[in-house]
Symmetry: C3
Subunit: 137 residues, 3 copies
C-alpha cells in the first residue's frame, strides 16, 4: 500500500523549520500500520535532516558549522549566479541530503524521543519549498 501527499512550506530564510507534525499527520492519514515514511524536498538549495528537537542551540550550532563546511561567497566558487549564498546553499544541501525516511510502526512514525524532522533552508531569502511524503507498507 502506498500513500503520497505533498505540502508547501515557506521558509524565513536561512535556518531550520520543524516539519515533524506535518509528516506525522500524513503517516497517520495513510492508514499504514507498518512501513516507511519517505520525505523528499524538490529543491537543491535547501535540505532535510533529522536532529535533536529539544535544544534550539543545536540547530543554531549546525548553522555555525555549516558556515565552515560551505562558506558564503568563497573566492574559489565558480557558481554565484544568485549571489554569495548560492553555491554555499547547494553544497550544504548535498551534505545534509534531499530526503529523510522514518520507519512507521503501529501506525505512527517511529522517531526516537529526541528526534525531529526539519527543513533546512540554506538560502538567505525566504523561499516556498515543496515537500513530497510517500508512506509505503
Amino acid at each position: 500500500m502506498t500513500h503520497q501527499a505533498t505540502f508547501d512550506i515557506r521558509s524565513r530564510g536561512r535556518g531550520t523549520l520543524e516539519i515533524t507534525a506535518e509528516v506525522a499527520a500524513i503517516a497517520a492519514a495513510s492508514g499504514i500500520a507498518t512501513g516507511v515514511a519517505h520525505v523528499f524536498v524538490q529543491h537543491t538549495s535547501c535540505s532535510l535532516l533529522i536532529t535533536e528537537n529539544a535544544a534550539p542551540a543545536v540547530r543554531a550550532d549546525l548553522e555555525t558549522l555549516a558556515r565552515r563546511w560551505a562558506p558564503d561567497g568563497d573566492p574559489v566558487y565558480r557558481h554565484d549566479s544568485e549571489g554569495d549564498d548560492d553555491m554555499a546553499a547547494h553544497a550544504r544541501s548535498v551534505l545534509s541530503g534531499s530526503s529523510v525516511s522514518v520507519p512507521v510502526g503501529g501506525g505512527q512514525l517511529l522517531l526516537g524521543t529526541w528526534q525531529g524532522i526539519y527543513l533546512w533552508e540554506h538560502r538567505s531569502a525566504p523561499h516556498l519549498r515543496r515537500i513530497v511524503v510517500t508512506v509505503s507498507g
Copy 2:
C-alpha cells in the same frame, strides 16, 4: 509486504560497530525476495553509514576527519549540556545520517563486496542504541 524488527546494540563509546549481520538476518527472516531494507537509528548523537568493510584503518581515518568536520568542545558551540562531545556528536550525526537503505534481491542484501553497514557512535561514553529495520518488497 513489509517486515519490521528492532534490535539494541551497546556502543563502546566513540567509534564504529558493524551491524551488517544483524540487518542481513532480518532481511532473510522477512521472506522478501526483492525490495529494500531500511535501517534507522532512533538517536541524534550517533549515526549509520555504509563504508569499506575490510580495512579498519578506513573507519579510524573517518574518525580523524570527523574531528575536523565537527570538533569536540569548539568555542563557537552554544550547546554543551552533556559535555564537550555533545554538539560534535549531533553535527556528525547530521553529516552521516540517521538511516541507510540497501536493496534486497534474491532474498539477500545487495551490498557490494566491500560494503558493510555500521553504527557510528559519536558520544565518548558507551550508549545503548536502538535500531529499527524495515524490509519492504
Copy 3:
C-alpha cells in the same frame, strides 16, 4: 509491487555523471504509478547525490569543496593502500552517501525542476560502477 533493475556505468575518474535518465527509464518501466525509486551504488569510493542540474559550475565547486572536506594524501590518513585518493574517496562517499531515493507519482520521478541524480566518482582513475534501482509502490 516492486521492480528492480541494475545497470553499470563507467566513470571517467573523479567527477559527476548524470544518471537521471537511466533511473527515470527504470521507474517508467516498472509500471508503478505511486511509490519511491531507491538508487544504490555498490561501492565505497564513489557516491550518489541529487543536486542542481543546470549549471555545471555547481558540480565543479562541489569537487573543490570536497578537496577541503577530505583532501587527497592527507598526512593523518592511516589508510592509503590504493594511493593518495583512496581514503579521500571513502570519506567523500560517506559525506554524500551510497543511496538516494526519489518519490514516484503519476508513473514518473517527482524531481524538482532543477534536480538531477548523479554518480559522484571519487577515485582519480575511471571505474566501472554498478547501480541497483528498486522501485516500490
